[in-house]
Subunit: 311 residues, 2 copies
């Protein structure tokens, strides 16, 4: 968020050890999930952290393999170097702060560290934690992410980090795009069975995915998290005309509010909303929740740099 | 069901053409799903249909490939011949009635027929249809299957066949063992998040699958329909002590009753309950539904023979 639109500066919370600071020329933040890797490349110039460029690559979620994760991070670094007009930095010149999906699994985190190609410094956390660090500039706060998946996090004043949700699209991720997509598909199937009314929402799903059992089953057989999430906008489109769509979005709101309540039972922390589904549902959240919503100070890449600075 | 406990006879609804009856020595019923294939081997002796033996093999659900389906059916036939003390029949001597999962998909059914190894006669339907044919001896009636998956069927007096549910364990199969298993796993995850109370049901799931986020996620990553269904008995075990378990089973009952209502809106047909989950939930069904429950006349293999006779 702070780069490249501003020649951005993130104030370090603590200074690195003098020797290390000499060796490290590049400070890198990484945000890695199941679909994309984003990377931001900073250089320290006197008291300032100057953003040189950004790069993107494919998935670096640790559950898809640590070898792939390091490869994609390398590609994102190369892309950022191209944007910066630099040669690709050697790993030994780089300090990396990484927020990677799956890093909360200790076995995956250990395997990722074991495959370190020789970085000057490594700080690893889940992409959710770097998200909340970025959103509140490292200060206490809560973050609700509802995009393709969903998770809520809080960084409390006493240092506790609490995460709720994020159990994945098959069983969890309530209120997310994939969750809404699965629910509207169920509705379309039940409407075909005459168990649910065949209103505008069911008609819209049939028009998109097929109006027979065979067609819907074939669509489902070929679909994963992202494709289910692509159905979620139909629920928003139909909510004004179809009570089934409106009820479903209301249920999503309740599920997401329950996640926020579980990470911050005192309802005392400032809250950042992130993700397209959270943005579209925001007007339906309770007044009490909306009153705590603040504008994010930065994104997960800023959070990854903070993680590195405080490591 | 009629074999091998009784030297069983299923009265044919119609006689085969005289020429075909000469060529056909063996009459075979097949019930094929995603886990197993069951096959029953009959011989016509004068006016009687004598069951020679039964055989089992691996999955012959058409969605897993028609080549595999024919191989497993062949293996089940060989196993039945061994039980009968016969040589394995040549396909040309055999008339096959098949109730196979996936046969309601026209493309899969066509591919299966195209790979026919040379049977004297072939009659193909979904395993659900052979189930209802067997349950009511070919007469009008309804069938509710709730085991690992769930589906409801009705054969109406005017010949209409209506199926509801059976959309698969990822999005549908409401009230089934896998559906209950997924719901109890969600509850265990939410209890770990402090979104649900951690009562006896959550404790039981944690004891079985792990009491940390990492352990539960690992369990889910390795699990499919059958393994989720293996959690369903915990809901029954805990229902007396844990309101969450009792509510979940009540919701399963409502879902299954809605399926029965959708196949038989007049509530006029006799109903057979099939599957372990239906059996355990039976006492909780409404009195109106229970009043229509009858003892099955036969199983899906008997139904497959009826399908063949009426083809």
């Amino acid at each position: 968020m702070l780069c490249p639109s501003s020649a951005a500066i993130v104030a370090p919370k603590s200074e690195p050890a003098a020797g290390l600071a000499q060796a490290v020329r590049y400070w890198i933040g990484v945000d890695g999930g199941g679909t994309h890797t984003r990377l931001r490349l900073w250089e320290r110039r006197a008291a300032d952290w100057v953003c040189l460029g950004e790069g993107q690559a494919g998935p670096s979620a640790l559950g898809q393999g640590v070898g792939q994760a390091w490869r994609q991070i390398g590609e994102a670094l190369a892309a950022a170097a191209v944007q910066a007009g630099h040669a690709v930095p050697h790993w030994a010149q780089c300090a990396l702060g990484l927020g990677l999906s799956g890093a909360n699994d200790p076995a995956l985190a250990q395997a990722f560290r074991a495959a370190d190609p020789g970085c000057a410094r490594l700080a690893l956390a889940s992409d959710a934690l770097t998200g909340v660090l970025g959103a509140h500039g490292g200060q206490p706060g809560a973050l609700l992410i509802a995009g393709t998946g969903s998770v809520a996090l809080a960084l409390h004043a006493d240092g506790r980090q609490v995460a709720v949700g994020g159990w994945g699209w098959l069983n969890g991720d309530e209120g997310s795009g994939a969750w809404i997509g699965k629910a509207v598909m169920q509705h379309a199937q039940r409407a075909l069975d005459h168990r649910d009314p065949a209103g505008p929402l069911a008609q819209a799903i049939w028009a998109r995915c097929g109006a027979s059992a065979e067609a819907l089953l074939a669509w489902c057989a070929e679909s994963g998290q992202a494709r289910y999430a692509s159905l979620a906008p139909l629920a928003f489109d139909c909510a004004a005309q179809d009570p089934a769509a409106a009820r479903l979005l209301q249920e999503a709101v309740q599920q997401l509010e329950a996640m926020v309540a579980a990470v911050d039972p005192q309802a005392s922390l400032p809250l950042v909303l992130s993700g397209t589904v959270a943005a579209r549902l925001a007007p339906q959240f309770s007044a009490a929740l909306r009153a705590r919503v603040v504008v994010p100070q930065g994104d997960a890449l800023d959070g990854a740099l903070r993680l590195l600075q405080s490591a």
